[in-house]
């Protein structure tokens, strides 16, 4: 390590790993969730409160504070990284609090912190060659958060297989990208890199046909752990891909880049809408709703236009509130009935739980009056002139998902199911969630201002 140590950066990297062993023994107590959330929130505050003097490392590149050099590799924080880490840790804090009332989510707190720490290192490490190991370790570690009390094993096994295969794709992509840099102009290496990145993303994001694990996670796993897993893989990959595009500028210039992202987005959205019709159960439908919502994020990014990139970042920020609502609703449903299957919790026995599931489902579909509708409306208007059929298909996918959600609501109640009473936390969380979701509509213009840095980072590389 060099002697000119950037102490704030060292604290930022070390804090999650130092706090995870402290929170681990507390995981069965009610203290674990607020403690983990406090650490995550403190990291966000630290990113903005600590002094990060700008340092020019290249003619056109400025970093916040001197890079930290470890074994010849540098860890450095840029303005974009600051926004990326704020988004990741902010969302993590929200999900830790969401898991608070549920005992079967106890593995989430220490593992979530450690996984977040590993992902942080992966994002900040340059060159990104070794970053892939830290990012993949984080993704693998999350397999444990999916396990509840006697459920979630099948999903965890499928997740482990998908993430391991994805890791092989990513690590080979790194090697192919290095070969492309060593042999400039050779199309083989460039194409190989793009194809492997595509394979890695298909496996990690749950794009059809590798989607099954996402559905199993929500249907059988610990719901907030599942939400944390898909959130970190989706949002983390959004930022990780930006790091790739910055490191290898030729990547985003390849003709297959935009087309690949768009195809993935379309596949995620349309296949989820169709497959949701063949599935029963709040958990499984929730998984498809998340996939469809994620598809919009990648489709918007793949357009490569300034508006599309803004909308992608906007959808990302909006999505986390909806995901937290879905995770809480599913966890409360599981606590009441022992599963997330259809017809287990009637409306009169768990009104706030059903309201949360319905509301978060609508929010993930981006329908009015919920905040995500602003992004969907703008995106539909953006697509209509150039791709009218696609725009109509996307509107149709919302209809199909809505149908699946409505069918779940009207599913006949199984009389023989023994039920535990609705958790009291469902009432206050439900009220807070609906206020937050509707409040987002009014906060939209203010929040939109802060997307500038994230969107500009993408615009520069495309």
């Amino acid at each position: 390590m060099s002697f000119d140590v950037n102490l704030p950066l060292l604290i930022l990297i070390a804090a999650p790993f130092l706090s995870a062993p402290v929170i681990y023994p507390l995981r069965r107590t009610p203290l674990a969730a607020p403690a983990a959330a406090a650490v995550a929130a403190a990291l966000v505050s630290f990113l903005w409160v600590a002094s990060w003097p700008p340092v020019a490392i290249q003619q056109d590149q400025t970093v916040l504070g001197a890079p930290l050099v470890v074994f010849g590799r540098s860890l450095r924080l840029t303005e974009t990284d600051r926004w990326a880490l704020s988004t990741l840790w902010g969302c993590a804090a929200l999900l830790f609090l969401t898991a608070w009332p549920f005992r079967f989510e106890r593995r989430l707190y220490p593992i979530g912190l450690a996984a977040g720490g590993l992902w942080t290192i992966g994002l900040l490490l340059r060159p990104i060659t070794l970053g892939v190991f830290f990012i993949s370790s984080a993704a693998l570690l999350l397999a444990l958060t999916i396990l509840g009390e006697g459920h979630g094993l099948e999903g965890a096994m499928q997740y482990l297989i998908a993430v391991s295969l994805g890791f092989l794709a990513w690590v080979t992509a790194v090697w192919a990208a290095e070969q492309a840099a060593l042999n400039p102009g050779q199309l083989l290496w460039m194409t190989l890199t793009t194809v492997l990145i595509g394979m890695g993303m298909i496996l990690w994001l749950g794009v059809w046909p590798a989607y099954r694990w996402v559905v199993l996670l929500f249907a059988e796993g610990a719901p907030v752990g599942a939400a944390f897993t898909v959130f970190l893989l989706n949002y983390g990959t959004w930022f990780w891909l930006l790091a790739w595009a910055q490191e290898f500028p030729w990547l985003a210039q390849l003709p297959g880049w935009s087309a690949g992202l768009q195809t993935m987005g379309i596949l995620m959205t349309l296949s989820s809408a169709l497959l949701a019709l063949a599935e029963r159960g709040w958990g499984a439908i929730g998984g498809y709703l998340w996939l469809a919502s994620g598809g919009l994020l990648w489709l918007a990014l793949g357009t490569g236009t300034v508006e599309g990139i803004y909308l992608s970042a906007w959808t990302m920020w909006m999505g986390i509130i909806a995901l937290a609502g879905l995770a809480f609703g599913l966890a409360a449903h599981r606590r009441m009935s022992g599963s997330t299957e259809s017809g287990r919790v009637p409306l009169d026995r768990g009104p706030w739980v059903i309201a949360l599931l319905l509301g978060s489902g609508m929010a993930l579909m981006n329908v009015p009056p919920l905040a995500g509708f602003t992004a969907r409306w703008a995106f539909t208007r953006l697509l209509l002139p150039s791709h009218p059929l696609l725009a109509l298909a996307l509107i149709g996918s919302v209809g199909l998902l809505g149908w699946a959600l409505l069918r779940e609501l009207r599913a006949p109640v199984l009389e023989a199911t023994p039920l535990r009473p609705m958790p009291r936390s469902a009432v206050w969380f439900g009220i807070a969630w609906w206020i937050a979701e509707l409040g987002l509509l009014f906060a939209s213009p203010w929040l939109g201002l802060h997307l500038e840095t994230l969107a500009q980072a993408w615009i520069r590389v495309l």
Binding site: A143, L160, I161, L168
Partner: protein
Amino acid sequence: MIGAWNIGELAMIAIVALAGLVLAVDDWRGMLVAWALMGTAGGFLLEQTTEVPRELAGIQILNSAILTLLLYLAGRRAQTTAPKTLMARPAVHWRFRILAAPFLYILARTVVIQFPLPVASPSLLIVTGTLIGIGLLIATLSRSPLKAGLGVLTMLNGYQVFYLSIQDSLIAIGLMAGMSLMIAFLTAALILVRQEVSA
């Protein structure tokens, strides 16, 4: 006298046969023994090639031994309380599974001969392709966490054979071995969680 080429070829066949055994055998201890021997044969194959330093081939063998020990300890603990969790048989009959191994070997061999990559020797690429294919089959067909984990580790083992021949950075090689260890730990955790549930 068997020439160097033949020894390499024999090592390849041994690796494929042992991976086929991991795929076909349902007894958990038998699977682990076959897997450990497969890792050792992989290390032996690496020793025969000129692309990989001998020390790294030794590390590959050591890595396999450590992972096997870890999984054996987890399996033994699970066996004392819930032995049925280790015996979950795949839905596909063992005859099909044992046939899949030579089929995947021939497939990998054909692909490598048709589309040679200048960066690594054909024997290493064939072993990598075969082990990734067999590992994927083990992982997707199995119902027990131990076998699924061994499938993932077989894929990773196959990939490592290729990775060691192209990677110069010792940190990257160390991190790759660390990833195997992490997957083995996760497998052990899944076995023990399943044991908790069954108990």
